[in-house]
Structures are given as C-alpha cells and as structure tokens.
Amino acid sequence: VSRTGTLRAAVLLLAAAAVAPGCGSSSTGFRGLPYPDPAPPADFALSDQHGAPFRLSDHRGKIVLLFFGFVHCPDVCPTTLATWSKVREQLGQDASRVAFVFVTVDPERDTGAALREHLAVFGADFVGLTGTLEELDPVYESFGIFHEKMRFGASANAYIVDHSTRVLLIDAQGRLRLSYGFETSSGNLLHDLRLLLEE
C-alpha cells in the first residue's frame, strides 16, 4: 500500500505532470522532479538486512535511490522494486555506481530476515534498512516521509501502512537532487541516472 495520503500523492503527481508536460522532461533535462536547492540531507545510520551497519554518508560517490516501504505492501512497493530491478539490469556495469536502498516503514514486521527474503526476489544487491523507531523516526522526518498504520482487521498484525511513495535520488556528491512518482517508468529513471553518471 501506499499512498501518502491519497490526496498528497495525487497532488504531487499532478504537479509533476504540470511541470513536465512533455513526458516528464523538466527544464533541467531530468525526468524527475528536481529539488530546488540540492543539498546533502541529514546523515543517518541504520542496519541493513544482513545486520551490517549502513551510514548514508559512506555512500558518497554513488548515486543513492531511496524508497520507503514495507514487505507486506500489496502494490506500490513491489512495483517500485520491480522497476528498480529493470533499471539495475539495464544499467549493466554502471549498476555498481548506484545504491538501491529500501527503508522500512514497518520495523515491527520487517525483520532482517523478512527484508532479506523479499529484496532477494528483486535484486541481490538491493539494500533493505531497518532500525528502532528511535532510529527511524528522524530519518522519516528529515526526508518528509509520511507513514501511518491502517488497520483492516482484528488481529494485531492486520494492518497495512499508508506511506509516501516517491523515490528519492541522492547524487554522487551526496545531494538530495530529484524525486519520482511511483508510476515512473524504468526508462525515465534510467534516463536521469545516465545523465547523472556522466556528471
């Protein structure tokens, strides 16, 4: 699931379509929605799906694609991961210059094992991050990530998480540079990645 609040995401998509009527190209040449003043985001440290520490700033020099989702997400997360999968494949050797990073918005259920099993379906080197709520909340906050449990049944685990759906791109200089709606095609993501890899 995921629909940053249906209204919020719809407004973002409308805005993206409005600024990019020619199939997503903006005046910057990128297909993604540019941040007006790219700057490094607040650094963070979490644990990956293998239990190893992951610090964002350690990945300077790589482009980082960042997405916030959860394993039991029934729609937006698997389709985003499938898109990443295609992008990774089409990047070929350049894929080693891009980090695909999935941060959970459901740390209670998304254990390392759950993330490991799920991400392996889409990309062996995709990174899944989790942590305590104390560790994750500042990360959500600094990137403006909305997340809210939505219950649909009586059992304790019968909930999905309504959450922000955009993919964020941090460039090789560590600057938060672009973002993408969840319906963005692999072709549009690939277009921007190739531009950035040439910078």
Binding site: T6, C23, P78, E89, V121, F122, G153, E183, T184
Partner: protein, 159 residues
C-alpha cells in the same frame, strides 16, 4: 473483525496516478522483475507432497461473514496484483514480471490455495500473509479467492 476497511479510498491512488500520467502522454512502461517464478506444476507437486491426502480435502462453503470479510481483505491486500475479479490484471500485477494467475480459470485445490495465501510463493513477489492475518482471516481471503475461481474453467486449473 469488526473494523471496516479503508480500501475504496486507498485503491484510488494507482488509478489517479495512471490517469494523470496517461493524460500527460506518459503512460508508465511495464517493468519486469527478473525473479523466475516456480512452475505451476512444481508448486502443485510440492504442495501435494506436503499436504498429502489433505491436498484434496474440500473446505466448506463460505459463511455470510466470510463472504463480506474475505472480499474486503482481498481488496486491500490482493486486488492490486490479482485484480478485482482475480483476472491477474491489477495495476501492480501488470508491472511485475510474470503476471499473477487468473483465478477465473480455476486454481489449485482448496487446501493448496489456502496454503499459498498463508505462505506465499518463495522467489516471487507473492509474499505469505500468514504472519499478518490470523487463521480466520486467511480462511476469509481463501473463500473470496475461491468465489472468483472457475468462472472460465474447472475448480482446479490443471495446467
């Protein structure tokens, strides 16, 4: 199981997104995952071995509560990929590699279907819902999936 489901609102967003992108002349391309799904025959045989004689044990008809709750949970968790009528044509399913199965052609036996809902299909985007739903809820989802099955074929698709 007394709470109502928020899905009708939630289900709108992919449609809104598709509409917006389509209006901008930017319908999303289909993206495939490279994961190779296990063959249907392999999956069936694995389940047949695990379930033994229980594989063919029929599950009784749905109660009125199961009909309603199963449809509601299906709409939240399943229709994004499997489609509202189980045709394998949900907006998310279309963007995954191999399309989800069409329940309307018939599916596996009752018990096998319930086990797939519970455990998922390893190596594919179909995750198991067994650590999210309790037994009652799993059965409700099964009842809805079964209600979609067989419209175009037999009770079990033997392909």
């Amino acid at each position: 199981m007394s709470e109502s489901v928020p899905h009708p609102r939630l289900a709108l967003l992919p449609c809104i997104g598709a509409l917006v992108l389509s209006a901008a002349g930017c319908a999303p391309a289909s993206d495939a995952t490279p994961a190779a799904a296990p063959g249907r025959q392999d999956l069936r045989e694995r389940l047949r071995q695990e379930l033994g004689d229980g594989y063919d044990a029929a599950i009784p008809a749905a109660t009125p509560v199961e009909v309603i709750r199963g449809a509601e949970i299906y709409e939240v968790l399943c229709s994004g990929c499997h489609g509202p009528q189980g045709q394998g044509d949900g907006p998310a399913g279309r963007r995954l590699g191999a399309p989800p199965p069409r329940f309307s052609r018939g599916f596996f036996s009752d018990r096998a279907t319930l086990e797939i809902i519970r455990r998922g299909v390893p190596g594919t985007p179909m995750i198991g819902w067994g650590n999210m739903l309790d037994e009652e809820e799993l059965l409700q989802v099964f009842q809805h999936v079964r209600s979609l099955s067989g419209a175009d074929g037999g009770a079990e698709d033997r392909r």
